[in-house]
């Protein structure tokens, strides 16, 4: 099934514009209840249906069914990152907003990156 672009919003949050955290944020609208979506996120059985990354170890930080789930995950090759899901009921079903945050708390990465590129030019 192809997901329409309109339903998949979100650019990587500008690699940190201003003082924004170094994070990426995406969202999707799903024709299902928040409870059904939450079940697919919070249980191993549910995740097996869509999350094809068995090498990543998941540690749940907090779970507030059916609206919020936060986990940390990592693999041998990747540093641990924090993933937060917000599930909001909408007329069409549920909107899921996922935010993955890098280990950095906050820094103006975009501004700095542009500066580094200027130096490189």
């Amino acid at each position: 099934m192809e997901v329409e672009r309109e339903a998949m919003q979100g650019e990587p949050r500008p690699p940190g514009s201003g003082d924004a955290p170094a994070e990426v944020q995406r969202e999707v609208e799903i024709e299902a209840t928040p409870e059904q979506v939450f079940e697919a996120l919070v249980t191993e059985q549910g995740r097996e249906r869509w999350l094809d990354e068995p090498d990543r170890e998941i540690h749940v930080e907090s779970s507030e069914a059916p609206h919020r789930l936060v986990w940390w995950w990592a693999s041998e090759d990747e540093p641990a990152t924090r993933v937060a899901f917000e599930i909001v009921a909408i007329p069409a079903g549920a909107r899921v907003v996922v935010t993955e945050t890098s280990p950095a708390p906050s820094f103006p990465l975009a501004t700095l990156a542009a500066s580094f590129m200027l130096v490189a030019a």
């Binding site: 170094a22 995406r26 869509w50 899921v96 996922v98 580094f116």
Partner: protein
């Protein structure tokens, strides 16, 4: 676990170090004396912050004038961090597409 981004993120997480980088962006380079003149911290603290930035690969020594070592930004040093963001964004696009498909196929 290999974590090449860790030192970069750690270095950038400190506001004083970000101010020092901003000074280098503005002035082209910086040294302990030049930063001491603009920041309300000791020379020792500035030297320590510069070492952290240098260890993270964000700075390089541009040479010295007398006893004054000048530092400048290391080109492309932030590329791995930017790559992480681009890769993570693309991966979540794919994951959410699969999540949508999986949940909706169950509901139908």
């Amino acid at each position: 676990m290999s974590d090449p981004l860790g030192p970069v993120f750690f270095a950038l997480a400190d506001p004083t170090r970000r101010t020092m980088l901003a000074a280098m962006v503005r002035d082209g380079s910086a040294s302990v004396p030049s930063l001491t003149a603009t920041l309300p911290i000791s020379r020792q603290a500035i030297a320590k912050h510069l070492a952290t930035l240098e260890d993270a690969g964000l700075l390089e020594r541009w040479g010295s004038t007398g006893r004054e070592v000048r530092y400048g930004l290391r080109p492309h040093a932030l590329a791995p961090a930017l790559d992480w963001l681009r890769d993570a964004d693309a991966a979540w696009g794919r994951r959410l597409a699969r999540l949508k498909e999986a949940v909706e196929s169950t509901v139908e």
